[in-house]
């Protein structure tokens, strides 16, 4: 507890409503409109397993010095400003680590304002959990700061290959997103890396191909909190963009005994156990269904037709993502 007190020494009071809107600092109007729109969109979303109840506080302190902004459980759109992933930051005695920055420059700027609204300590580390634009395309908002920008060993390659394509997509969704840019990390993790924010060590782990081929997780030793990012999806259907068998193997060891709390890439923070079980059930069923279809000589289209309507756990966004998962699983498993 003493450490906890020390860690919070110069932390300002956790904001009671909207840290951005109530911040005295001038924020760009577009960024404000964007966060306000997310607030509105979330407040009126009443789908099973959604996070509507919490969304009125965009940055919530979910553990001592750990702040999360929940993304809405939707596909990216102009209305939700692309704010669909969980992003946030961890405050140490001396500095702050930002973990993911959202889809756009505006979201990155909003995150930076949120940090400033709770502490005067500088941002020392900027961590990208993987290549997807809903997670790390707000990085440019920190470009003028002397931070350690960190990602998986494979992230620079993935950004180089996909970055321009994603930017084009974002600009199509809204002209407001067209000033967004992606920034490759300057330091990369091949296995694990330890960083310290001042009496607050974080363990970064680079995973073999799972959700993508560049997944990075962050473990906060002080609270036993694992920032799992998109290795875990809560409520919203997991999307496969790496290796299905690799992801299943990662889930076997993801929740080590010292993990007490988990931040998924999408959906509710929890102890992670049930979230992991649900994801494991879905991915296992996907693997077995696709394997059987391939063994029977079914082609990709026939496999899709057979497996398209199989939503066992009432996942959100099943219809928009399950088919794609079947395709990804098929192209992987046909080489077994």
């Amino acid at each position: 507890m003493e450490m906890r007190e020390k860690g919070r020494g110069d932390l300002k009071e956790a904001p009671s409503f909207h840290p951005i809107a109530s911040s005295p600092v001038q924020i760009p109007r577009r960024a404000f409109l964007c966060t306000a729109a997310v607030f509105a969109a979330t407040a009126f979303t009443k789908t099973a397993g959604s996070i509507a109840a919490e969304a009125h506080l965009p940055f919530i302190e979910i553990a001592d010095g750990v702040f999360v902004r929940y993304g809405v459980q939707e596909e990216m759109s102009a209305a939700n400003c692309g704010a669909i992933a969980n992003i946030g930051f961890i405050v140490g005695d001396e500095s702050v680590a930002v973990i993911d920055t959202g889809t756009t420059l505006q979201q990155g700027a909003a995150l930076r304002e949120a940090v400033a609204s709770v502490t005067s300590r500088p941002v020392s580390h900027l961590i990208a959990t993987h290549v997807h634009p809903d997670h790390c395309f707000g990085h440019a908002a920190f470009s003028d700061l002397p931070v350690h920008s960190i990602g998986h060993r494979n992230l620079p390659r993935a950004l180089a290959e996909r970055g321009p394509f994603y930017l084009k997509r974002l600009a199509e969704i809204s002209p407001d997103f067209s000033d967004t840019a992606y920034v490759a990390p300057e330091e990369t993790v091949s296995d694990t890396m330890r960083i310290d924010l001042g009496n607050r060590p974080l363990l970064l782990k680079a995973w073999p191909p799972a959700h993508t081929d560049n997944d990075l997780t962050v473990f906060d030793e002080r609270t036993g909190l694992l920032w799992a990012a998109d290795l875990l999806f809560a409520g919203r259907l997991p999307t496969l963009d790496g290796s299905l068998t690799g992801w299943l193997a990662a889930l076997d060891v993801l929740l080590s005994p010292d993990v007490r709390q988990v931040v998924p890439g999408h959906g509710q923070v929890s102890d992670g156990v049930e979230t992991l079980q649900e994801e494991l059930a879905y991915l296992t069923r996907l693997r077995d269904g696709v394997r059987a279809a391939i063994d029977e000589g079914l082609d990709m289209s026939a496999t899709l037709a057979r497996l398209e309507d199989d939503n066992q756990l009432d996942w959100l966004l099943y219809d928009t993502n399950h088919g794609r998962n079947v395709v990804a699983a098929y192209t992987e498993l046909e080489w077994e």
Partner: protein, 279 residues
């Protein structure tokens, strides 16, 4: 004069409809022209501007999903609606994806001895686009079928999912006989080769480090001394190129595959085919 007023009303309706129709046509025209311009350029580069391309109905049919689920892997199939005979057959099918960076996926050269000219494969789809299949028959005529495909959503990208694996497994090949193959009857097979089929990219803007393009340039399949198909292609084919084709086996023989990629590396393998003893 109620009668006259009615007539006027009709007349006004007519004018309104005409105006609305005109607005619709004007509103739609730029898009249609833009799409058509893309295609006219591709068409000119493929066939010159003077060759007539007929509607494909009765010759070929193109199947593709309405929406690409995964931008990296969109299954498409071309069904021949005419029989392959020595006198009249489809000798080539070219696939085009108008809005891709490299719009011409490639050309499949086909032969009359295999009975059925159906082909299916997988392609990358970068944007909302028309996909076209153009068949060239043995008399030199061209026939086209087309389909509009919406781009995929979410974080899908026309990119590799597991780069290291793609390079580690490069060149590995598989042949699959679909269903029972009988002597003298057209039978379906599937060929695939593990290959990144990669467009190349600049990985680091500071060091100017490039990963060079590496893609499958040709695939040649033969059964004994009979040609099955020859493909010449480009980077719009999905990673790990796959093709389903038809062949009419006369006797037990070896199916041989020869693949050459853009690094001039050649991959070759043979498989003994299994014929249903009932045949």
């Amino acid at each position: 004069m109620p009668q006259q007023r009615k007539a006027e009303t009709y007349c006004l309706h007519g004018i309104t409809i005409a105006i609305l129709a005109a607005i619709l046509i004007i509103a739609k025209a730029p898009i249609a022209v833009a799409n058509d311009e893309t295609w006219q350029d591709i068409r000119a580069s493929l066939y010159g501007s003077d060759r007539v391309i007929h509607d494909g109905e009765g010759v070929i049919k193109l199947d593709a999903p309405d929406r690409a689920l995964d931008a990296a892997t969109v299954p498409i199939s071309v069904t021949a609606e005419m029989e392959q005979t020595e006198e009249h057959y489809i000798r080539a099918v070219t696939l085009v994806i108008d809005e891709n960076p490299a719009p011409v996926v490639g050309t499949f050269h086909l032969f009359p001895g295999n009975g059925i000219a159906n082909i299916s494969t997988r392609v990358r789809v970068n944007a909302y686009t028309n996909i076209r299949a153009i068949a060239e028959t043995s008399d030199g005529e061209l026939y086209m079928a087309q389909k509009f495909v919406k781009a995929s959503g979410g974080c899908s990208a026309p990119a590799s999912k597991d780069h290291d694996l793609a390079m580690a497994r490069l060149g590995k090949m598989r042949l699959k006989q679909i269903g029972a193959w009988r002597k003298g009857e057209p039978a379906e097979g599937q060929f695939m080769i593990s290959h990144p089929n990669y467009s190349g990219m600049q990985i680091d803007q500071v060091t100017q480090l490039w990963i060079p393009a590496r893609y499958v340039r040709s695939i040649e399949l033969t059964l004994g001394d009979k040609p099955i198909l020859r493909f010449e292609g480009d980077i719009s084919m999905s990673e790990n190129p796959m093709v389903r084709f038809f062949v009419r086996p006369d006797a037990e023989a070896e199916l041989h595959a020869k693949v050459v990629d853009s690094d001039e590396k050649t991959f070759e393998q043979s498989w003994p085919i299994e014929l249903d003893p009932a045949s």
